[in-house]
Symmetry: C2
Subunit: 633 residues, 2 copies
Amino acid sequence: MSADHPQPPPPATLPERKTLDQRNAMSELERLRHSCAHVMATAILRLWPEAQFAAGPPVENGFYYDVDLGHRITPDDFPAIEAEMKREIKANHVFEKRVVSREQAVRDAQSGRLGGLGERPGNPSRYKLGNLAEIPEGEPISYYRNGDFLDLCAGPHVGRTGNLGAFKLTAVASAYYKGDEANPQLQRIYGTAFKTRTQLEEWLRMQEEARKRDHRKIGAEMRLFILDPDYTGPGMPLWLPKGTVLVEELEKLAKETEFAAGYVRVRTPHLAKEKMYVTSGHLPYYAESMFPPMQVAEEGEPGGADGASRGAVQGDRYYLKAMNCPHHHRIFAAEPRSYRDLPLRLAEYGCCYRYEQSGELFGLMRVRSLNMNDAHIYCTEDQFADEFRAVNDMYLKYFKVFGLEKYQMRFSTHGKEGLGRKYVGEPELWLKTEAMVRRVLQDSGINYVEVANEAAFYGPKIDVQVWSAIGREFTIATNQVDFAVPARFGLVYHDRDNTDKTPLCIHRAPLGTHERFIGFLIEHYAGNFPLWLAPDQVRVLPVTEAQLEYARGIVEELRAHQVRAELEYSNDKLQGRILRAEEARVHHILVVGQREQEAGAVAVRIHGHGHQGVRPRAEVVSEILAAIRERRA
Amino acid sequence: MSADHPQPPPPATLPERKTLDQRNAMSELERLRHSCAHVMATAILRLWPEAQFAAGPPVENGFYYDVDLGHRITPDDFPAIEAEMKREIKANHVFEKRVVSREQAVRDAQSGRLGGLGERPGNPSRYKLGNLAEIPEGEPISYYRNGDFLDLCAGPHVGRTGNLGAFKLTAVASAYYKGDEANPQLQRIYGTAFKTRTQLEEWLRMQEEARKRDHRKIGAEMRLFILDPDYTGPGMPLWLPKGTVLVEELEKLAKETEFAAGYVRVRTPHLAKEKMYVTSGHLPYYAESMFPPMQVAEEGEPGGADGASRGAVQGDRYYLKAMNCPHHHRIFAAEPRSYRDLPLRLAEYGCCYRYEQSGELFGLMRVRSLNMNDAHIYCTEDQFADEFRAVNDMYLKYFKVFGLEKYQMRFSTHGKEGLGRKYVGEPELWLKTEAMVRRVLQDSGINYVEVANEAAFYGPKIDVQVWSAIGREFTIATNQVDFAVPARFGLVYHDRDNTDKTPLCIHRAPLGTHERFIGFLIEHYAGNFPLWLAPDQVRVLPVTEAQLEYARGIVEELRAHQVRAELEYSNDKLQGRILRAEEARVHHILVVGQREQEAGAVAVRIHGHGHQGVRPRAEVVSEILAAIRERRA
């Protein structure tokens, strides 16, 4: 890799968001939704002919159109707009395309026709004029017309307005023209559309369920985490005791799983000097996604045997780490390595910091502090296939633990044209590694799609998508193969043939980050976590004071086995205490009255499943311990 | 607490270093050592009459004298110097004190007599002139003379040179005059002295043992950690796999111990906005001990339900956290608290960052990244004594786990004069809390000393000192009571009497930081950790290939119980493999030959204890599991 050309984005263990323009072409559904946006504009103009429109694209889950209107639109206006939309659909107008000259388009915008139902003297289409100005000279300019409504639009659209299926307006928000705060503020009206009413209803039902399962809502109800933007800063969750249980149970699961798979663990600081990220290639190209540096005035008095820096360096910059790989590479480099030491699997629950734009932050799903279930596997080419297979097996194991039935791996490969520019120039290594990855995916019977020309700079990658219990898709993790960065750090192992070779490196984070994974799990389980994961595992309720000691004994027995068990006794009626425990999503509620005490038994309730009968105390205790140990669903 | 007066240093969970001048007066031993420094100067002048002396104080473990000489002194010169010193001691000269005028002193320095054996024309005592200039006008100026040697000195000294006991020169290093790099570089010659030869020899033996047990040396041999000053930065250890085992075993111990003691755990980010540390009082007074801020250009787009900051703030500074308390206080503040919620014990293994001067950094003992076994206990005044007792019990429990037989708690109380300035102005609370602490210490039979006028600003504190197996003292932890900071964060609980009250807060960190505590444990155990803590717990060595499967079965059985067990089979002779395992400090070495396999047995070796006999496999496995579970010494 030559040092004189800019590097594309560096190792990002979290997947990047897909933007619309990264997709190859507009899908059928997107075309439908795009057409629906035009129909919505038509309807709005019928109601308020002075309306001015800016952009109206399809987006994930629907479409929007930005509108400038003298008054505020609210959801109360939606039925009237929808009624006009239905009329336009019933009229079954053709979507007609026409290519025009720039002069013609400017004239039509000035007359108010563009984005209107006809000429509007004194009301020129000011946002369409702005949009026109952004179309480069020489590019074709096209209109789409449906009925009276004429719009500046590159298309494509469905054939006729009558082809539109089921639709619904969903929300209104404000947005700046072209996303620039210096521009006028517009109203963004959101809607969605599907081919059939059944699909729309299914989607609406899922949305409703997702709202109920919103991880921010449940997170607050269950006191799992808080955000403290004024003191700690936005996007950096503070885990409350019950949320910390989730974090630590996931860590425990990962540590046990990784121990069994032959990983070893390391711990590295949360910052490093500029030199680290210049070497890795993150600086300067990734700088805007990192927190700004800490500039220290001077550094490096003559050091002693403690390893302090030798020689005076005037000034130094420290950066918070945005990824763990460079630190792990330095650990690899810390001793001479032989082929006998490989594969070396270094795991760390490393906390990284990324400076996401504050407008992008979203609960636990997009944050600035990321606790990553990270590991880097250094291996030879010969070992690669086995290591990669083992990583996949680990994914499948986790899917099983969490009852994830639907998943997909998105396998991104290189594009030939980008070799040496977008992709590191190792054509044979690309083909060979991609073939190995493909074979492993096929052999394991894993559900995957292959996407050309979307690999990382330094190797092929796999994004892991899972679907929650209510059918929503989440991208939770990435696997990446890295040909390039180990060489930048001068990593070598001494091979059998007495030469030094650069190891391959697999970046992998099957549980992604605590933040996003827990956000996902909250929705997946609707906060009703399985026993091993439940913040409140057991609550013992003595009916009267006479059972207090018996109840306390059960709690102590369970707590001696690290079970999160509590006693609740108060003068409140039993029913009230049971209700409170159910509201708090306590997994096992054990009620002990006089009869239970005399029989050495407990009455078992399981959260959400009601009364399970009276059973011997010892049996219940050992079943609780087994369910936790085996991480039963 | 009024906001308009500067606060003294804020919560520092790590104890501060004691400097010599903080001690009340020169002890008998210090006087002896100080006199020995004069005798050493006398001896050096006998050998090299042109020598110029700067400062010669007693220090911890000995004394030094800074000397300017035309040539380099090396340890090879020590015998000659020591021989001259013995002559001076045999001469049994009186240490004579004389108070002189400044003019007299300047004349004697110009003539070369001060710090000399007589006048030295053309060789004035330039450092003594510099020292004289630093004595404020009006302060008495005094000389000490022994034999021909005349020195500028405030004393005190022993009566005669013959009173000096056993001494030894130990080292030579370089030092700038008055510690200022702009000044000339001098040679600092170190020595030590004791009242008796036995004491000296005991100390030398301990020094030798401490050198063998040096945590940096053993840390490198055992591959526990590295420092990477150029990339990660000085003072920030990277824990290698075997060191990470130590870290995680300590965390596990702390988590289990704290779970049993009713703590709950939280997890907080490693940084916070400036506002956090202005509120806590750390800024600006503690700023120089913190890493410099990260200045972000702009922050705070209008936030959504995800809690992003509302309202535009122009620019913001983020600081790495130097202590966990402010984050915990914000968690306390996150919900309304009632007296029923107290005591609330929030624990976190929080990683903090402090910008220690690079010259102060020392292996794991003084670092910039501190993984702290931290917790904050919020309680009412009524609960304080019980909570404080429970904290002490936890210390004693830990001492037992690590076989620490000698410890001392140093209980620092307020001084009346400092109330409202050096100490928060709550005289009754001081007296009351100190009385409670004192009573708990007495009731628990804990070995402690009480030191007046050394409390923290916000409450009494206890430094915990322990002695390693070779008798060296370490300060590993602090307990602090905090009256003041919870109020700064507006923390309140709603009390029985329907009023809001500020809770007391106990800061406690019984295991101190991973870094220092592991540094201590390495010396304490000389790297020969007990089984539960040993990075390499078990290594199974099959004698020939025929036992490979049997050996593998034992390893797998142990690993299924999370035991760190490995198989080692190679063509190397058994003795060589045993030696290698002993060198690597593997705790249990299990050798299996044909006889052992046939008998379902293993031959057990314990590191440092040799062969333990052939015993049934099942018995050995269950004993290993029990020793780990019970954390046997």
